[in-house]
Each structure stands twice: as structure tokens, then as C-alpha cells.
């Protein structure tokens, strides 16, 4: 069964440290800024999109099948 993707939002002031296709671990930082958000799940980064109106990057992560 396909798991729903998780969207991680980060302030676009900071540089995203993941890219589409990257494998990402649960707890991994996703940008280089202070207090950087971390991924809530292990999985694969599907898309990385800049949301201009909210000045954020939206990182879509598809959790791995074995992820909790």
C-alpha cells in the first residue's frame, strides 16, 4: 500500500540540504539553518518546491515501507 507523503515546510531563508531522490532518515535535518526542522520519518524525498507566497520550501517525503 502506498503511504501518504509527508510535507516538511522550512523557512526559505535557509538552504535545503536534501534534494529529490535523496534517502532521508528519521530525525535528519533538512536545511542548514538554526533550529532546522528534521524529517519525521525515514523515506525518500520526492519533491522540493519553493512556495513564494509563504517564503518556504516544501519538501515532500514518501515514507519507506518499513518506517513506523
Amino acid at each position: 500500500m502506498t503511504r501518504p507523503e509527508i510535507i516538511i515546510r522550512i523557512d526559505a531563508t535557509w538552504h535545503p540540504t536534501v534534494a529529490p531522490g535523496d534517502t532521508i532518515d528519521r530525525g535528519q535535518r533538512v536545511c542548514d539553518g538554526p533550529e532546522a526542522p528534521t524529517s519525521p520519518a525515514t523515506g525518500t524525498v520526492q519533491t522540493l518546491r519553493f512556495d513564494a507566497d509563504n517564503h518556504e520550501f516544501l519538501i515532500a517525503v514518501v515514507p519507506a515501507p518499513s518506517a513506523d
Partner: protein, 410 residues
């Protein structure tokens, strides 16, 4: 001539439909396809000679143009593509130049909220905060102080007019995300001219396009407060009013026709503000106008060099409007700068043609790179040198008779 009345009726009906676009109806432009590599819209300066320094000392009007995310290399790349390595953009012909640091109160790398606050109020604050010191104390903005001295005021942007940079000139909130509150404050502050996007923050919650969580209808409130309103370039061209609200998209502008381009919005804002002061009881007091090329930043977040060039040239066209007015007026101080650099853009290779310049990006975010300042008009020479972003209004306020500066609000 049975057809004549029918044709006339149809013509009149069409005219009525055109002219009777409800003043507060919602209108969104379609997004046409555009070739961002087509720079045919842009006319680089014929001369590369600097504009002359003026001997006049009295500043009547101030136009502050801010290229969001526009570092030195964003300017250089646009120059290379549009005017060649030996050419100049219009902003580069301003006779005075400086270099500005951009760090915020809590970060080496600023965001537009803290940088906008530094540029507008002369204080450092934390990233994300608008018009407030780090402890939350509100500080007067140069726009508010100018208004208190009887000057007309205006804000123009290609983002939502509630976005961080324009907000920093007429709002005081703890977070840049509070755009519904910012919209209220922009109107409550009686800014004469507000042109940009962000209509959704002016619509009541019951409107399906609203970005508010209450039922306040700020468009209706604006009308009651005496604002004329425009949603299209045609409407914008036809209006000349001392209070003008123009919201051309629900969110940010597309920066594509048939929307009004930044240059047109700038020209219209200058005309409305100039006319508003000419008709005022104290016409000696001029105006303060901030114009933001908001989407240079966005292009650089996407590491999109072509879009970066296009947005920088659209901004430069707006700067040219300001230059033309300032040169004709003689007592207008024009300052062109940026809030921060975005993308860590460098230009590591290319030929002397310039058009084939290659770029590299070191970041998808902002950087702490210094940004340029260009100035023209009375006392422009005060903006030469290397200094902090809080210095812009610290040098500007005394020229407008505003003391002390910065000013904490009571």
C-alpha cells in the same frame, strides 16, 4: 437601417460591460506562457555615463527601491545579459554607490522581515519580526515618520503588498506570517498608495478566495475610507487619486502581461503621490515611496538564472521611472538597494559577449553577502561607503527633519 440599432446596442452593451467592471469585483489574470529569455522588453541605457550629482541640498521626495535578494552578482548577471560587460543597468548610472551589510539581530543571514525592519526603522531585529525590536517593542518606520511630517506615502511591490518587505514599512507584528493583520495595519496607517498583490488578505472569510480568518471586508473598508481601487492595468491607468489601493492578484503578481508591470505601478504611484502633495495644504512636504522588486529573491531561491535576470531588469525598468522623475524634479532623493542576497550567485565563466555568462549557486536560501546601494539626488553622497543596513534611515531621517532616529513608539 435595422442593423444600426442592433450594432449600436451591442457596442453600448460591450462598453457598459467593460466600463462597469465592479469596483470591488474579484478579477484574476490568466497566466500566459512567457519566454523568460526574451529580454526584448528591456531598453538598456544608451550612455554609461553617471547621472550628475546635484548641488541642491533640500530633500522633498524620497523614493527607496529595494530589489529583494539582489546582490552585486544579480546586478552583474542582468548587466551581462542585457547590456554586456561594459554596459550598465539604469541603476548603475546613479552617481553614488555604497556597500551594505545585512545581518539581523540574531542571525548572520537575515530574512526580508528583519532586513526590511532595519531598512525602514533603523534597528536590528530578529528574523521574522516586522517593525519591532527583538523584545517586541514597536519602532516607527520612516514611512510613518514621513507621514507624520505631512508627506504622502506609498508602497509598491510585485509580491503581496502584505509580504515582509512592504509590511516592514507600515506594520508592526511579531511574525511576517500575520498577513491578515498586516493588511489591516496598512490601511489603518492611511498609506496613500498601495499597489501589488495579496487581495486575499483583504477579503472576508466567507469569500472562497479569502486568506483571512474573520469576516472583515477590507476592500469595503478601504472604499469607505476614501480609497480608489484597481484590479487591472486598465483601471490603474485610468485612476488618479490621493488614496489608491491596487491589488492585482489574490497572492503574488505573475509579473506578466496583462498585469501592470512594476514600472507602470511605480510611474502611477509617483504621479498620484506627487499630485496628492501638490493639492495639499502644505505642498512643500513631498512624498515617500518604497518600490520593491520582490521576485528577484524568488528566482534565486529557485536557482533560476534566466528568471533572476528578467526580474532584475523589470526592477531596473521601475528604477528608470524613478530616475526620470528625480532628474526632472531636482529635489527627489532616490536610493536603490537590496535587503539581502539570495542564492550565493557567482559568475565563474563566460565570454566578453556577456550573454553566455555561466552561473553557479551556492545556496537555495539567503546569504550574508553584502548588497549594493546606489543613490541620486540631494545629499546622495551621504550614501557612499560601506555601512550597515540600519544606516539607510539613520542617514535619511535627518534629511527629512526627522529627529531623533530611530524612534520607539509609545
Amino acid at each position: 437601417m435595422r442593423n444600426t440599432p442592433t450594432a449600436l446596442t451591442l457596442t453600448l452593451t460591450a462598453l457598459v460591460l467593460i466600463l462597469n467592471v465592479p469596483a470591488f469585483a474579484s478579477f484574476d489574470y490568466p497566466t500566459p506562457e512567457v519566454d523568460v529569455n526574451d529580454l526584448g522588453f528591456y531598453q538598456p541605457p544608451i550612455s554609461t555615463e553617471p547621472y550628475p550629482l546635484t548641488t541642491a541640498k533640500k530633500v522633498r521626495n524620497v523614493i527607496l527601491c529595494i530589489g529583494d535578494g539582489m546582490g552585486l552578482n544579480q546586478v552583474a548577471l542582468a548587466r551581462l545579459r542585457a547590456a554586456g560587460p561594459a554596459g550598465k543597468l539604469h541603476m548603475e548610472r546613479l552617481p553614488v554607490s555604497g556597500i551594505m551589510r545585512t545581518h539581523s539581530a540574531n542571525r548572520l543571514v537575515t530574512d526580508s522581515a528583519a532586513a526590511g525592519t532595519a531598512l525602514s526603522s533603523g534597528i536590528k531585529t530578529k528574523n521574522g519580526m516586522i517593525g519591532q525590536a527583538p523584545d517586541g517593542a514597536p519602532y516607527r518606520t520612516i514611512l510613518e515618520a514621513a507621514q507624520a511630517r505631512g508627506m504622502a506615502t506609498g508602497l509598491v511591490a510585485t509580491s503581496a503588498i502584505t509580504h515582509a518587505t512592504p509590511a516592514a514599512f507600515a506594520a508592526h507584528v511579531k511574525s511576517r506570517k500575520m498577513e491578515a493583520d498586516i493588511a489591516q495595519q496598512l490601511l489603518a496607517n492611511r498609506v496613500n498608495v498601495l499597489l501589488g498583490g495579496g487581495r486575499k488578505f483583504f477579503l472576508p472569510k466567507s469569500d472562497p478566495n479569502s486568506g483571512r480568518d474573520d469576516e472583515r471586508d477590507l476592500l469595503a473598508e478601504a472604499r469607505e475610507a476614501g480609497y480608489s481601487y484597481a484590479e487591472t492595468a486598465w483601471q490603474l491607468r485610468s485612476v488618479n487619486a490621493p488614496y489608491l489601493l491596487g491589488l492585482f492578484q489574490y497572492e503574488s503578481l505573475t509579473t506578466l502581461p496583462p498585469e501592470p508591470m512594476l514600472a507602470l505601478m511605480t510611474r502611477k504611484a509617483i504621479r498620484c503621490l506627487h499630485n496628492a502633495r501638490a493639492a495639499a495644504p502644505s505642498p512643500k512636504q513631498g512624498f515617500f515611496l518604497m518600490v520593491e522588486g520582490s521576485q528577484i529573491d524568488w528566482a534565486c531561491h529557485n536557482n533560476d538564472a534566466d528568471s533572476c535576470v528578467r526580474q532584475t531588469l523589470l526592477f531596473d525598468e521601475a528604477v528608470k521611472e524613478a530616475i526620470d522623475f528625480a532628474l526632472a524634479d531636482g529635489r527627489t532623493l532616490l536610493i536603490v538597494t537590496a535587503d539581502h542576497e539570495t542564492g550565493g550567485l557567482t559568475i565563474p565563466e563566460g565570454s566578453l559577449k556577456g550573454t553566455d555568462a555561466k552561473v553557479k549557486w551556492s545556496s537555495g536560501g539567503h546569504t550574508s553577502a553584502a548588497v549594493p546601494v546606489f543613490a541620486l539626488g540631494p545629499n546622495a553622497e551621504r550614501f557612499a561607503g560601506v555601512y550597515d543596513n540600519t544606516e539607510i534611515t539613520r542617514r535619511l531621517a535627518p534629511l527629512l527633519g526627522i529627529r531623533p532616529w530611530p524612534q520607539a513608539m509609545e
